[in-house]
């Protein structure tokens, strides 16, 4: 019986990127710990650093897991194994998205624990916080897809620049069109309005669309190395 090469390759990526994931989780958890100090300044600093740790990993992970494979010329080694270019693309998506989701869920869980049990922020921050936490997830998928399909460090860096400068713009557009997002922030209970569900649905749809498009474009490649 032949080994599942794709699973071995996913595991190989996890082994190579484990420190990036661990350090991001530690940085995110440390940022949340700052919230325990209480007061407006620690809350602002903790929240910003929590978001920054996610944004940082959203850039670093595709760079190390995908761009570096080509840049450091380990791609020919991997492609000498029994995998096709479409399978390689699928492996990279599964390993990258899987690792990012793992740390994203870990940090989401930690943030929810801090809000629900340690009361570092009002419960009303949960819906809006979830919407904001999806920004780096979408940004990560966009950078990952671009790095994989474009096969170039330049395009990967361009995607990072566009994504990172878009976070505040998207947030500004959202709150200017849906003022309730910020109005319910200080509420003692989480307010799940139809607008919140609609935004979360669109965010989920964008993630699925980016990943599906990446897989489709990868499978159509005729020259891979």
């Amino acid at each position: 019986m032949k080994t599942n090469v794709m699973l071995e390759l996913v595991w190989k990526d996890v082994q190579l990127q484990r420190w990036t994931i661990i350090l991001t989780i530690v940085a995110g958890a440390a940022a949340l710990a700052v919230l325990l100090i209480g007061g407006q300044t620690p809350v602002v600093i903790g929240t910003v650093f929590f978001f920054v740790s996610l944004v940082f990993c959203a850039c670093l992970l595709p760079l190390q897991n995908i761009v570096n494979e080509r840049k450091k010329q380990t791609l020919p080694f991997i492609m000498s194994l029994p995998v096709s270019s479409a399978q390689y693309g699928a492996v990279k998506l599964v390993s990258s998205v899987g690792m990012f989701l793992l740390l994203w869920l870990a940090l989401l869980g930690a943030a929810l624990y801090m809000i629900l049990n340690r009361h570092v922020l009002p419960h009303g921050a949960i819906p809006t916080g979830l919407i904001i936490m999806n920004f780096p997830l979408i940004g990560f998928c966009l950078i990952t897809g671009t790095a994989l399909v474009a096969e170039s460090e330049g395009w990967g860096t361009a995607a990072m620049a566009v994504v990172n400068s878009s976070y505040w713009l998207v947030w500004y557009l959202l709150v200017s069109h849906i003022p309730s997002l910020t109005q319910t922030w200080a509420s003692p209970v989480a307010v799940w309005t139809p607008a919140v569900f609609k935004i979360l649905g669109v965010e989920f749809g964008v993630v699925v669309l980016i990943l599906a498009l990446t897989l489709y474009l990868q499978s159509r490649k005729r020259s891979f190395i």
């Binding site: 032949k2 080994t3 090469v5 071995e8 190989k12 082994q15 190579l16 450091k72 010329q73 380990t74 020919p76 080694f77 492609m79 000498s80 194994l81 029994p82 995998v83 096709s84 270019s85 399978q87 005729r222 020259s223 891979f224 190395i225």
Partner: protein, 298 residues
């Protein structure tokens, strides 16, 4: 089962500034073929096509009986591929790489891997980033050889190596061939390496196969004739002579289809034959490329 490990028929691939034209190539099972060509000749593109990494625009490619690129996954289980631009993970150890390959290939020969570690002077605990270029090449080849593949495809594996490391690798490559049925395609622009280990030679230049045949037959066919042309005598155009360089009374004729009666034909026309010399593979290669380029330019 086909007798050929590699079969390429009418393979074409176009890039904006390079074209692989109508490549036809056959590598019989159990033989070593040296693919020789200058930089940019199309060696790597040909190899990438037969590995399924680049899809041909036209033509048929079969490797170990599998159609490429459609059946590349099945074919790659039995192909050991190493190229000059291939690198291992520099933050990981040699032992990690061995474990990684071992977890995938049931054909992995651990005893042979350990033997090669010793023979190549490698340490399983050492990280790849601490290895010299020669050691990195040996490490890559160890991972290829210990899989015991039916076909080895090596794209310029000896480039940039010192003579000792090159010798070690060529010796190991020859040892690997002792096993029955193993085939090797070995590309290089170093004709000495190819001459040392190959059974078959294929010349490629500017995206075209110039010639492909048995090495001994090749070396036997090519000769250089050192001639003296007395005043009033004109060098006759003889069949098999592909080029003549004349300087005053002295001339050098190159034959690519040497026949024993060629010298006497020159003598009969009044030309003195001072020497008939064998040519090295490098000289044959250069003559072949120059002739091909002259024909294209003409």
């Amino acid at each position: 089962m086909t007798d050929y490990a590699i079969e390429l028929e009418g393979v074409c691939k176009s890039y904006p500034f390079f074209e692989l034209q109508n490549i036809a190539l056959q590598l019989q099972r159990g033989t070593i073929m040296g693919l020789i060509g200058p930089n940019g000749a199309g060696k790597s593109t040909t190899i990438r096509i037969l590995m399924g990494l680049v899809h041909q625009d036209r033509g048929e490619v079969r490797v170990l009986g599998h159609r490429m690129p459609q059946e590349q996954i099945a074919a790659k289980w039995d192909i050991g591929f190493a190229s000059e631009d291939m690198r291992l993970y520099d933050v990981m150890t040699m032992g990690w790489h061995i474990h990684f390959m071992k977890s995938m290939y049931q054909s992995w020969d651990d005893a042979y891997a350990q033997l090669l570690l010793k023979r190549f002077g490698l340490n399983a605990e050492q990280k790849i980033k601490g290895l010299s270029h020669g050691q990195r090449v040996k490490a890559t080849l160890l991972l290829v050889f210990a899989r015991r593949p039916k076909l080895l495809v090596l794209d310029e594996p000896t480039t940039g190596l010192d003579p000792v490391a090159r010798h070690e690798i060529l010796r190991e490559l020859t040892a690997v061939m002792v096993e029955d049925g193993r085939s090797v395609l070995f590309s290089s622009h170093n004709t000495q390496d190819v001459e040392q280990i190959s059974d078959q030679i294929t010349f490629i230049d500017r995206g075209r196969i110039l010639d492909s045949m048995d090495k001994e037959a090749y070396l036997d066919r090519w000769r250089r004739l050192r001639l003296e042309v007395p005043d009033g005598v004109v060098l006759p155009p003889l069949p098999g002579i592909i080029g003549v360089r004349q300087s005053g009374r002295l001339a050098v004729a190159t034959a690519n289809a040497f026949m024993p009666h060629l010298p006497s034909e020159y003598e009969n026309s009044g030309v003195r034959v001072h020497a008939v010399e064998n040519m090295t593979l490098e000289e044959i290669f250069v003559a072949n490329v120059e002739r091909s380029r002259e024909e294209v330019n003409a």
